[in-house]
Symmetry: D2
Subunit: 258 residues, 4 copies
Amino acid sequence: MSELHWKTAITEVKPNKICLRGYPVDKLLGKISFAQAIYLILKGELPSPEVGKLIDAIFVSSVDHGASPPSVLAARTAASTGAELNSAIAAGVIAISRFHGGAIEEGMKLFRRIDQRIQEASGKEEEVIREVLKEMKEKKQRASGFGHRIHTQDPRTRRLFDLAEELGLAGKFVRIARGVKKALEEQLGKSLPINVDGAIAALLCELEIPPEIGNAFFIIARVPGLVAHIHEERTRMRPMRKIHPQDYEYDGPQEREI
Amino acid sequence: MSELHWKTAITEVKPNKICLRGYPVDKLLGKISFAQAIYLILKGELPSPEVGKLIDAIFVSSVDHGASPPSVLAARTAASTGAELNSAIAAGVIAISRFHGGAIEEGMKLFRRIDQRIQEASGKEEEVIREVLKEMKEKKQRASGFGHRIHTQDPRTRRLFDLAEELGLAGKFVRIARGVKKALEEQLGKSLPINVDGAIAALLCELEIPPEIGNAFFIIARVPGLVAHIHEERTRMRPMRKIHPQDYEYDGPQEREI
Amino acid sequence: MSELHWKTAITEVKPNKICLRGYPVDKLLGKISFAQAIYLILKGELPSPEVGKLIDAIFVSSVDHGASPPSVLAARTAASTGAELNSAIAAGVIAISRFHGGAIEEGMKLFRRIDQRIQEASGKEEEVIREVLKEMKEKKQRASGFGHRIHTQDPRTRRLFDLAEELGLAGKFVRIARGVKKALEEQLGKSLPINVDGAIAALLCELEIPPEIGNAFFIIARVPGLVAHIHEERTRMRPMRKIHPQDYEYDGPQEREI
Amino acid sequence: MSELHWKTAITEVKPNKICLRGYPVDKLLGKISFAQAIYLILKGELPSPEVGKLIDAIFVSSVDHGASPPSVLAARTAASTGAELNSAIAAGVIAISRFHGGAIEEGMKLFRRIDQRIQEASGKEEEVIREVLKEMKEKKQRASGFGHRIHTQDPRTRRLFDLAEELGLAGKFVRIARGVKKALEEQLGKSLPINVDGAIAALLCELEIPPEIGNAFFIIARVPGLVAHIHEERTRMRPMRKIHPQDYEYDGPQEREI
């Protein structure tokens, strides 16, 4: 055993056997959804059916948001120069950084800090939230997960929170997120929606996901969207075109019911 | 309207409304799985329940394969130097290239070429397969999707094919994949398993996915695995360690039942 | 000695000693230029002073070409989302692919193929070139390294070729490049300039650089330009801006003499 | 003029004319070295001959450091899977992060903070340095740019500093770097060498380069080394090999004189 010997607790691979966190992968096929497998590999345990359903919804909510996010523009730009599919995806993922997709980790940290303080203050929730936001304002910090360039009410947030309620998974962190929204409204004199990042942040706090991998949920969700854009770029556009970041129109299927 | 005006058919974003291929995203939440949403965004239509189930299984099959694949080593190496989560993922995705994960596209092209030739030859399946493999051998080309460094029988393949049968989705391409396996055995004098790439290639052919995005199914599936490894690297290892590509052991949960 | 033991012939590192291709690096400092060190590390030998000078000029020629190349747009897009400096560079480098910067390798292969054929045909240069271009046209292949979106005469090409003449390094490949330009003019009925990629391709052929690393000369040259753009993006622009690929103006120093 | 109109001060491109920071590129070819062009594009002005010489030396010093740095391992790992040259470079660059190559920016910030404090304290240099290091120790911060895994005396540092002296460019920041080394020795009871990152940090401070692009000097210097390793990986090794991070030997040219 060399001095470089190391250990990993994720997946065990032996001839003709692959166990993900202890579960033989072939036994999982057909039994759990991809989203549940993601939860398993990241968290180490299988989710309950309710948690599995919420995780599926979290990923569905962020699978794509049109052609203007910088990750899409970076991926399309790379694809347009002839980059391989995987490399164009990588260019897109590099652009999912602090100001784009990065709000989940920050939002989680904020909600957890508030929760911590509420526990210490024995439950004066509203007061604590107002205090924390006041401190943040003084340090010129913005609350992550609130406000949206396009949406005044993020349609994904409402549905994600409703679903969490239905599944019995909306607890103190959903309440905190709503409290922050209300307190921000008082502070700023205008209403900022809880955006999808803020909603996911609250729900991942409910599920006890570590904040350090919060953004991964956005990245995992968005990679398929990047693939769709790269494929469209390659099959529909000419190489080396100048990609306008805004002046495009949608010409896909009209709105339809599921 | 500028000369740079362009069109996209993937997602329509309007204030407070986001439609994926025509479907309002909030209507999809709680109704479809993440895997089904991926199918929708890539293919343009919702899958049938059976196809949805198979797609989920395809992604679950490839979510992780331990610490030795080069994509994991590249991602861990980047993470070990302090790279951001998204950048470490990007480094991993760059390493999912021709010789690692690239077999799906190649396998799909092979199976489709064989199918084309069978149609032209009015159905002499076995003969056509033998012929194609002979031609490939002459050009020193290897059949993608067969053989595995570790597994003599890939446990994922058997279960994926069984599931496809149960769901009524195993058709001519599964038959062709099995035919190629048999013909290779004759040609090489030894049995090579259909590996998971080969199995996925056959199934994506059944689902009429374009081969050009075949590898994306592997990349999408594997990103969560990369995240798990990056997170373990950051939380369990010291920075800048020398990462041995082989000399590691698994110390996670023992094998367990679902 | 493990079964994984391997060998490398690039750099030897021992305590307090670093030898690049055999030369102690501290002995090189102050004696050779960066460009000469690049030549050494890639080619294995120190260049003559003339070759060193030409290599320096090749890199200078491609250090930047304004804000519209896709590599710059990808790097700026990533930087605008808050990506780290190194990651934003990586996004830019991913976009230096087949259609952007990729012409050097292709150009080198073309010039070497022509040279090979001239040798076989014992010297009928013009004829061979015409023939090769005719064959390429039939296969709908374009000659790499000719034509430019903006320049009708690439100012870099003329000066690079003049410098190569002065240094006694312009040989058969410069002649072949000029021959291809002339033959293309006959074939297409219009004059295409030898662009900087074509010029570099010819000169790297003269220097017996392997075509497989031809594009590296462009990438190495352009990384500093990417850094300049990333730094300007971070210090002069607001985050998450929409980056128009064309509608910008230059407001730096007016034209000046060295 | 659209609302997206923007400005850049780096390079002006007009038909048949390219000006880098105001200088026509063709006038620069043959006149300045690549390193000088890098200085121009990053700093906005041409360096004096002395500064040009020092910049060349800085880049030469970091062109390669053997096969064990993580950037090399990440690039080789990607190349081994069949990744394109540019993508393999990108994977390597992603791994030049906080703990590898990141010391230059940190070192520069430290030296500038010390300089600031010395000015405020009207010149009690030694005292200030001791104080700053004490404060850092209390906050458990390490001084960037000191110590090396392999070298007890970094051969590059001594030569870079000597060269800076010869060129009249070694000023207060070289003095501060040496002062920190001395004070660290007192504090830790052992001697840590100023490593090449620390040396470059001091010299870039002398040249008034912004710390935010300090690491870029390492990245720019190292990309050619990455190319050499990627090319060796592709031409000398079989694809998909397991790359041991340590168990390799050098088999290139023996030590030789320039």
